[in-house]
């Protein structure tokens, strides 16, 4: 289907199903139960899952295929957001031109930064990208304040021109982002007994873009170009000795992955029209590295899983506070309850970084291939039981 082999088509269909059914999958607990705390099926977080999924897929095209570890990818995300917000300010609230400009501008940025950074490899490359990203961050934070609005972040105002739209709506508010009239924020709530399922236009738009991005990534992975990138990863020096100039290939991969980041940035601004400088900070670049490694670098689905994992922790675990813990452990005797709450509260709420750090260590130590490897191991466990006598079929292939 669509030029994919059977295995890849299945993967694409699985991802499509996951995206479509996310409002159900992520809301397994009834709305007023104690477990509702762990529901993640609300529009903002679902959008974030998908957007950071796109960001991580793009990063993986560079890191997973060529092995070049960029520590500056957040810069492209930020550039994408700023371009998109400027489009909303100047042109119209339609998300299409905003996203196109975001991809374009971040592509140009990636070309310039990549051209310089790719003169070196390994750690030097990483440091160069980090330096460029920090430079962009500082420019956005203070030097270029007229364009970026500095620390406060670029926001829409009532007196923006918006040539093809309106500066303010009839009732004096700022217009909202839309796709040809479909408002990105509009949500349909399905009331199914104890469950509440939210279907958000913006989320489904992001989901459609994710599927496109995912499909494109599969094609790149399977193409001769992708093979060339893998060759660079396994032995760049040998490639050079055979008389092949690897730099254009690496640069192309860098620009593509920069454009993916720009796309994610543009989508982020389309869902929530604000662009802040901290989107470009080195911690944000580090986050996408974590997502990719956690999910499984070099695999197709891994980065998406990693992105979901980290965003889930950031948004769900950070909101469990002391009061909630006391509710959970209320069945224990008083002294014990306080003890348990005291221990647990260091791992949730403000301490969510700690839990994430521990899990990251466990994954990297025991599952070097990331969550995807975990999935493979489980799958193999089941498969071995059912097809014990046949040998050879259980050979593990990377789930790319």
């Amino acid at each position: 289907m669509l030029g994919l082999n059977k295995k890849d088509s299945t993967l694409l269909l699985i991802v499509a199903a996951m995206v479509l059914l996310a409002p159900f999958i992520l809301n397994p607990f009834p709305a007023d139960s104690a477990m509702a705390q762990f529901n993640a099926g609300y529009p903002d977080l679902m959008q974030r899952f998908v957007i950071f999924g796109i960001f991580a897929i793009g990063f993986n095209i560079l890191f997973g295929l060529t092995g070049y570890l960029s520590f500056g990818h957040a810069a492209f995300l930020g550039v994408g957001s700023y371009s998109a917000v400027w489009m909303f300010k100047l042109l119209s609230m339609n998300v299409i031109p905003a996203i196109l400009l975001a991809v374009l501008v971040s592509g140009v940025f990636a070309l310039v930064i990549g051209f310089v950074s790719l003169r070196r490899t390994g750690i030097y490359f990483s440091i160069l990208t980090l330096a460029f990203a920090q430079m962009s961050f500082n420019l956005a934070y203070s030097v270029l304040t007229p364009i970026t609005n500095g620390e406060t972040g670029l926001q829409l105002t009532l007196d923006d021109p918006r040539i093809l739209g309106v500066s303010a709506t009839a009732d004096g508010g700022i217009p909202v982002t839309s796709l040809f009239g479909m408002e990105m924020r509009s949500t349909f709530t399905l009331d199914a007994g104890a469950w509440l399922f939210q279907f958000n236009t913006g989320y489904y738009f992001c989901g459609a873009v994710l599927l496109l991005a995912f499909y494109l990534a599969i094609r790149i992975f399977r193409s001769p170009f992708g093979l060339m990138l893998r060759a660079i990863k396994s032995n760049r020096t040998r490639m050079n000795y055979t008389g092949l100039n690897t730099k254009p290939y690496a640069l192309a991969a860098f620009v593509i992955s920069g454009m993916y980041a720009g796309l994610a940035g543009g989508l982020m601004a389309s869902m929530d029209p604000l662009a802040g400088a901290e989107r470009m900070q080195w911690t944000a670049s580090g986050e996408v590295v974590l997502m990719t490694i956690l999910g499984g670098a070099g695999t197709l689905i891994g980065p998406v899983l990693g992105a979901g994992f980290i965003k889930y922790f950031e948004n769900i675990f950070s909101k469990i506070n002391e009061g909630v813990l006391h509710q959970w452990f209320a069945f224990l005797p008083d002294g014990m309850e306080n003890g348990v709450v005291w221990v647990v509260e260091h791992f949730v709420g403000p301490g969510w970084h700690l839990t994430l750090g521990l899990l990251f260590m466990l994954v990297v130590t025991f599952l070097p291939g990331g969550l995807v490897e975990g999935g493979q191991r489980i799958a193999r466990l089941f498969r071995r039981k059912s097809t014990e006598p046949q040998d050879g079929a259980t050979q593990s292939h990377p789930a790319e």
Binding site: M1, K6, K7, S9, T10, L13, A16, L20, N39, Y42, P43, D44, L45, R48, N138, Y141, S142, N149, G150, E151, T152, G153, Q155, L156, T157, D159, A168, D171, G172, G173, I174, V176, M182, E183, R185, S186, T187, F188, T189, Q198, F199, N200, T201, Y204, A208, D272, L274, G276, E278, R279, E314, N315, S318, K319, N321, G323, G349, P350, W352, A393
Partner: protein, 448 residues
């Protein structure tokens, strides 16, 4: 190995299904909202407390959260009632708001606009919060205020000092109780002139972002109006930890006052560097060299330790005030947590009470009704004397405290002494003052 065989028919079917499902959400455009956003239907109402729990302002965030929890207790009729007894409005009865029990959810802003907005959005979309409050940085406050305006809930700003929050970035759904940089300047300048004379030459070191700039602008304007001269203004990067290279030029600049427009850890470091360079013992232009820190907080004073002694600054509120409201609040906060509250805690506590009171008076949680109840509202008994919530820009006007680092602190909390309580009239300004111009409130958004 794989069992599912893809037939042309199967693919077409799936494709059609996918297409149909993608089209479905477009049928329901915004029809889901009626009345106003997150109208509380049950026996309780949910407030969202969005404070920094990690990052540079985590200390302040923790104190803000304590204050919020205390406010919720008092609103629900638990504890000793705190400022509810001294508040000039008596409509709150200790049975929640409009008879609904107050519940709350918390979130971590990480002092980043993005994270703060994500956290606020999850409170609104997932937990059904009817009001968002908090923040310990102007950037975050402005970002979250914008979000609340779009989403259609009320935003009660926490600690945010930049002029922009109720200036060029003001919003109809956003309200600020805390004072701002202009007020700091207006309150501080006369005291500076009285203490240090009117012929001083000032040198500014300013944190290089929006809050720093508005504060520098405000202080320069206020001091120059009293005859001071500004020798130089230098921007320092926010991430700077060693200010030696910025302090050295001050020595030979001919200035005799150093103004540090820094906050939090920045201020602690720059002040320490300045003291190490012997600026406080130095004589310049035949006068004693002085250092001024326009925005003070007790938590910063604790970080700066010895160096803060004798240095002038301004603050929104201090726990050593002796009015009834302050005494009641300090007592109930101290009883619960064992130490006095910070100014951040105070402003957050007060904002929660003001919101509850406005809802009670309006008889509704509709953001537009609440905004109307808060606009132009005069109240007293909340620790700052008679206060006005101005309708034009949703900024509170009240007395401002000029404080000095105490020479002989009696405890680790007793670090500041109040030099002067600057009356409200002196810090007032027109809504269209140039430092605040360029924005518009717009109209209130109930999210429907």
């Amino acid at each position: 190995m794989t069992k599912n065989i893809l037939t042309r028919r199967g693919v077409l079917k799936t494709g059609a299904g996918v297409g149909a499902t993608l089209a479905v959400p477009t049928l329901f455009t915004g029809a889901a909202w009626a009345g106003y956003m997150n109208e509380p239907m049950g026996a309780s109402v949910t407030l969202g407390f969005n404070v920094p729990q990690t990052g540079p302002y985590a200390d302040e965030g923790a104190d803000e959260l304590r204050a919020y929890q205390l406010a919720v207790e008092h609103l629900n009729g638990e504890g000793d009632g705190g400022m509810l007894q001294t508040f000039s409005s008596k409509v709150l009865e200790g049975n929640g708001i409009l008879g609904k029990k107050v519940e709350y959810v918390t979130g971590d802003t990480q002092t980043k606009s993005d994270a703060a907005r994500a956290s606020a959005k999850s409170m609104i979309e997932k937990d059904g919060a009817i009001m968002i409050t908090g923040g310990s940085s102007s950037g975050v406050a402005v970002a979250v205020q914008g979000l609340c305006q779009e989403a259609g809930v009320i935003f009660m700003a926490g600690l945010t000092h930049s002029n922009d929050t109720t200036g060029k970035d003001k919003k109809a759904n956003g309200f600020r109780h805390f004072f701002n940089a202009y007020m700091s300047g207006a309150a501080l300048a006369p005291v500076l002139a009285a203490q240090y004379g009117t012929d001083r030459k000032a040198y500014h070191l300013t944190a290089d972002y929006t809050w720093g700039w508005t504060q520098e602008e405000s202080i320069v304007a206020a001091t120059e109006a009293l005859g001071w001269e500004t020798v130089n203004t230098v921007k320092t990067p926010l991430a700077q930890t060693d200010f030696s290279s910025y302090i050295a030029p001050v020595l030979n600049s001919g200035a005799d006052v150093l103004v540090l427009n820094h906050y939090g850890g920045n201020m602690v470091n720059s002040l320490t560097n300045a003291v190490q360079f012997g600026l406080r013992e130095k004589m310049a232009n035949g006068k004693q060299f002085e250092i001024v820190v326009p925005l003070f907080s007790r938590l910063m004073a604790r970080g700066a330790g010895e160096n803060i002694k004798g240095i002038l600054g301004s603050t929104n509120w201090h726990w050593s005030l002796t009015d009834e409201g302050t005494k009641a609040f300090v007592k109930s906060f101290g009883t619960k947590y064992g130490f006095p509250p910070s100014q951040a805690a105070h402003t957050c506590y007060v904002q929660t009470l003001l919101y509850a009171d406005a809802a009670q008076r309006a008889g509704s949680f509709n953001p537009c009704a609440i905004a109307e109840a808060l606009e132009g509202y005069e109240f007293d008994g909340l620790g700052n004397g008679p206060t006005l919530y101005r309708a034009e820009d949703h900024q509170c006007f009240k007395d401002v405290l000029v404080v000095r680092g105490k020479e002989n602190p009696t405890s680790e909390f007793d670090l500041l002494e109040v030099v002067e309580v600057t009356p409200r009239a002196q810090v007032e300004y027109a809504p269209d003052h140039p430092m605040f111009a360029g924005g518009a409130l717009g109209s209130c958004n109930p999210g429907a």
